[in-house]
């Protein structure tokens, strides 16, 4: 089936089998291997991407044909003009990753969450990422990273410029 999907701002026209999962479309068809596959029961969240900018979806639990006409943002699309998104910077600063396999999914889940809940509490962050598994970090530094990003994204422009 012919579909067109806009991924990270670029439109792609492709012909795919209906059964092709969005995760594999991104990875194999488009070569965007940042989105990972870690399980077969929609449990781990390594495959999370953003749909139409404001919903986090497990791309292993969606067919590529469903994304026809829609916009997908993957981890590769977080950086803008060579500048890291505050979430990416925060994960680095706070040691919120070790092997890096769950990281793209965590980033995309957090990215969408912060759009809807810009000042989450620690409990709200833990809840929001409870659809994403991590084996390496024990989650603690991931939570700190999301807190740092939230603070930066909601900082007053003047204060940010001065560097409080």
């Amino acid at each position: 089936m012919k579909i067109n999907v806009t991924v990270n701002g670029t439109r792609y026209d492709r012909d795919v089998e209906p059964r092709m999962l969005l995760a594999y479309f991104l990875r194999e068809e488009l070569g965007l291997t940042g989105t990972h596959v870690g399980c077969d029961s929609s449990s781990c969240g390594c495959c999370v991407v953003a749909l139409d900018g404001d919903r986090a979806v497990k791309s292993c639990t969606m067919f590529a044909v469903q994304a026809n006409g829609h916009e997908i943002t993957t981890v590769e699309g977080l950086e803008e003009g060579g500048k890291l998104h505050p979430l990416q910077q925060a994960f680095w600063d706070q040691h919120g990753l070790q092997c890096g396999y769950c990281t793209p999914g965590m980033l995309m889940t957090a990215y969408v969450m912060l759009k809807h809940k810009p000042k989450p509490s620690e409990a709200e962050i833990r809840e929001a990422i409870s659809g994403n598994l991590c084996r390496c970090t024990g989650y603690q530094n991931i939570v700190k990273a999301v807190q740092q990003a939230a603070n930066e994204l909601t900082a007053e422009p003047a204060a940010a410029a001065v560097g409080s």
Partner: protein
């Protein structure tokens, strides 16, 4: 130039991971690549009557279907297991020995087609009665392995210590406890499944294997021994690996079948397992059934320890232990305590389950041993009606006793257990917690405090004792400094998230006065990395870390000659101070390592080779002995059996700390795994041999909501024999934590008379224990 060791430097590997630009196995796509999918047996024990490939072969896109018979004809059906006492089938041959055992491989042009064709391979089975209980296997009424002599399910008996003295001491002890303590079968389940891209290049005659491997050199040697292809024609590359935890050390059938397919067909073949395959066929962890006996005086001084273990090894003995240690480092079971007498024995049995046993940050069976002794000490404390903290304090190996020779053959390098425990008790506010508990108990509320004061052993190991497939367990480093003063550092280990790209640069940077940001660290490519035994059992820092420091010191030795030449003084007048080469007695005369590096290429001394490069193969003199005190505080909901972990404190001593942030991250991750093991993880088989935990809906990984917050701190007692005093830490949290959780829950239920519950402490088990007690 400032200090590099002890600095929480941000990780150098992160820039690619945060951008989704890591290069994991499944990211590798080669032209003409085919895909392998495996056919699995539904039966735990069955004879294979026939395999009909025809329907599968007829599917468009299917290139080959490989069976055990095909491999046997090519003499590739049997793999030697790592420690060499057994061999295992690559594909089921004649019979299947565990549910989901690999029976055939389908190679096709796409994953989907390969999986479609898998359904069409027709296998005729004659089911046999399975054996799923190691105690039943012991009876030998059903023999599982036709290929072995003698015909028995008993694999080996191993023992260490003084059997008679221990028996006498136990029999004459005033107080004794005995308990069967089980460390249940679980699975490390890293988020990235195992996989391989095997690429036989007929033009060059070289076989390149991209593998999720933590021991690429050993895998290369193993593949060479099995296939007969010389090592120089085999190139193993371990790309970025998404977590290992022991899952990526063994050689799996999928690797072999993909390799064979690539060699025969001459194109790359990729195999990436599904999560179900990962949980049902790859190396499990634990499954030790330990009868633990401890004797003591009535004042609480321990007199003897005896542990008799039944080990369930699954259908093949593929436990990846060093060769002479079929039960790994289980002899560490005396733990942090000074036992006058001790004896430990392990009897291993085959069952109709997948093979494995060494995994999940176990440090070669140290997790099992530590769990046994820490639970045992708590049971003893209960019997003596003594505070478990007091019992431990009384029996700790004292600081002045180090290096300490344990009755089970280990020489512990260094430790001050009492000081570490004191620090932990202070931080957690132990006295106040006990007061609170007393108050809560009056109201019938179930609050518990659990302590684990573990000592583990890592860093395998000294060549005279430790080898894998005969290869001594040294490790290696290569350093080359470039003319402009940056450099490249290669080691024989292979990280999967532990931060070697940063910490190795910190070690070398510290020794050479160079900026770690300018030292590129590489691991995992057997063509370029020096030969190493890989990363597992927390051996990287103790062994490769030692190699790196000593290699750097060799560089510094040569650099000193060059410095003398530049400074125009005798070599003996040069001193390394403040990260520079200075002249003794002349304060303002010095050269930096960068200046020396440039000179190495442009102006070397006349009697010296140009360049600045070396390697070091380090044979460690001993293992190292990290330790710690972990304390858990829990509240139990009696109505549902749910346990809330209110606080968890980990005070670790891993000797010199290279990067505190990375060490803390390792602890957090291991504690989360220990938490999962204590409360929700098990690979269970029903009596018919069916695996009941085949994917993440049944094999549970806790989320950020269930996982407690962690408090961490440290003491630093360097290892006297390690070049930088470091001991390694990656596995300590798994070694030390499950028993802290369990001890806490048992403490909570103590007023009800509950003494022991086997892990995982599910809600129902806790609920039942409470009900049965009331």
């Amino acid at each position: 130039m400032t200090q590099s060791i002890g600095v929480s430097m941000k990780r150098k590997e992160d820039p690619r991971f945060i951008r989704g630009r890591g290069r994991y196995l499944d990211d590798i796509k080669l032209p003409g690549m085919l895909y392998l999918a495996l056919v699995h047996s539904p039966y735990p024990h069955a004879r294979i009557k026939s395999i009909d490939k025809s329907k599968a072969m007829a599917v468009p896109g299917v290139k080959a279907v490989i069976t055990g018979e095909d491999l046997d004809a090519a003499k590739l059906e049997w793999l030697p297991t790592f420690h060499g006492y057994d061999k295992q089938m690559v594909l089921a041959f004649g019979k299947t020995l565990y549910q989901y055992q690999e029976v055939a491989g389908v190679i096709a042009t796409s994953r989907e087609v390969a999986h479609d064709a898998v359904e069409l391979v027709e296998v005729e089975y004659e089911p046999l009665d399975p054996v799923v209980d190691p105690y039943q296997a012991k009876e030998d009424t059903i023999i599982l392995r036709d290929d072995r002599e003698p015909k028995t399910n008993h694999i080996y008996h191993w023992e260490v210590g003084d059997k008679t003295a221990t028996a006498t001491a136990l029999d004459t002890s005033a107080v004794r406890i005995k308990e069967r303590i089980i460390s249940p079968r679980c699975h490390p389940a890293p988020l990235e499944p195992c996989g391989i891209v095997a690429d036989m290049n007929k033009a060059t005659g070289r076989l390149t294997l991209y593998m999720t491997s933590r021991a690429p050199h050993v895998h290369r040697t193993a593949f060479s021994l099995v296939t007969g292809i010389p090592e120089d024609k085999i190139h193993v590359i371990s790309p970025d690996v998404g977590g290992g935890f022991g899952n990526k050390v063994p050689v799996y059938p999928g690797y072999v079948v993909a390799t064979v397919a690539s060699v025969i067909i001459g194109v790359p073949v990729k195999w990436v397992e599904t999560r179900t395959e990962n949980l049902t066929t790859t190396g499990f962890a634990r499954d030790y059934h330990m009868d633990v006996e401890i004797g003591a005086t009535k004042e609480g001084k321990v007199t003897a320890l005896r542990v008799s273990t039944v080990a369930d090894h699954g259908a093949f003995d593929a436990a990846a232990d060093p060769r002479k240690y079929p039960a790994g480092m289980f002899g560490i079971v005396t733990g942090s305590y000074d036992f006058p007498a001790a004896f430990a024995e392990v009897d291993a049995y085959f069952t109709n389950k997948p093979p494995g046993g060494i995994a999940y940050r176990c440090s070669f069976r140290v997790t099992e041993a530590s769990f046994a002794i820490e639970r045992g000490m708590d049971l003893l404390a209960r019997k003596l009606e003594m505070d478990p903290v007091e019992l431990r304090r009384q029996n700790f190996i004292k600081k002045e006793q180090f290096p300490y020779s344990s009755p089970l053959g280990f020489t512990y390098d260094s430790g001050d257990y009492a000081a570490t425990m004191r620090k932990a008790l202070d931080i957690i506010g132990y006295e106040a917690l006990r007061k609170e508990q007393a108050e809560k108990r009056k109201r019938g509320e179930l609050m518990g405090i659990g302590i684990s004061t573990f000592t583990e052993t890592v860093g395998a190991g000294p060549g005279k004792q430790f080898d894998i497939l005969g290869i001594k367990m040294f490790d290696s480093a290569e350093i080359r400094i470039h003319p402009t003063g940056s450099g490249i550092v290669r080691a024989g280990t292979r990280h999967q998230g532990q931060g070697h790209e940063t910490t190795w640069a910190q070690i070398v940077g510290e020794e050479l006065g160079l900026d770690p940001q300018e030292l590129l660290v590489e691991e995992g490519d057997t063509d370029t990395a020096p030969y190493g035994l890989g990363t597992y059992a927390s051996r990287s820092t103790p062994v490769a870390g030692g190699a790196l420091a000593l290699a750097a010191r060799r560089i510094r030795e040569k650099a000193k000659k060059i410095a003398a030449h530049l400074l125009e003084v005798a070599e003996d007048d040069v001193e390394w101070k403040d990260y520079k080469f200075g002249v003794k007695g002349i304060p303002d005369k010095s050269v930096t390592m960068k200046e020396v590096a440039f000179a190495a290429y442009t102006n070397p001394p006349p009697d010296t080779e140009p360049g600045l490069e070396t390697s070091y193969y380090y044979d460690p003199p001993n293992l190292t002995f990290p330790y710690g005190t972990y304390i858990a505080v829990v509240d139990v909901d009696a109505d549902t059996g749910a346990v809330k972990v209110r606080r968890f404190l980990a005070v670790d001593d891993c000797g010199t700390v290279i990067n505190p942030m990375i060490v803390e991250g390792q602890i957090h991750g291991g504690l989360a795994e220990g938490f999962a093991i204590a409360f929700m993880q098990e690979i269970k088989y029903d009596e018919d041999g069916n695996n009941l935990n085949t994917n993440f809906t049944e094999y549970l990984i806790p989320t950020a909501l269930e996982t407690p917050a962690w408090e961490t701190d440290r003491t630093v007692t360097p290892s006297p024999h390690h070049p930088i005093g470091a001991k390694g830490v990656g596995e300590s949290p798994n070694v030390g934590s499950p028993q802290a959780f369990v001890n806490a829950v048992m403490d909570a239920l103590a007023p009800l008379g509950v003494t022991h519950i086997d892990m995982p402490l599910t809600r129902e088990k806790v609920w039942r224990a409470i009900r049965n007690a009331s």
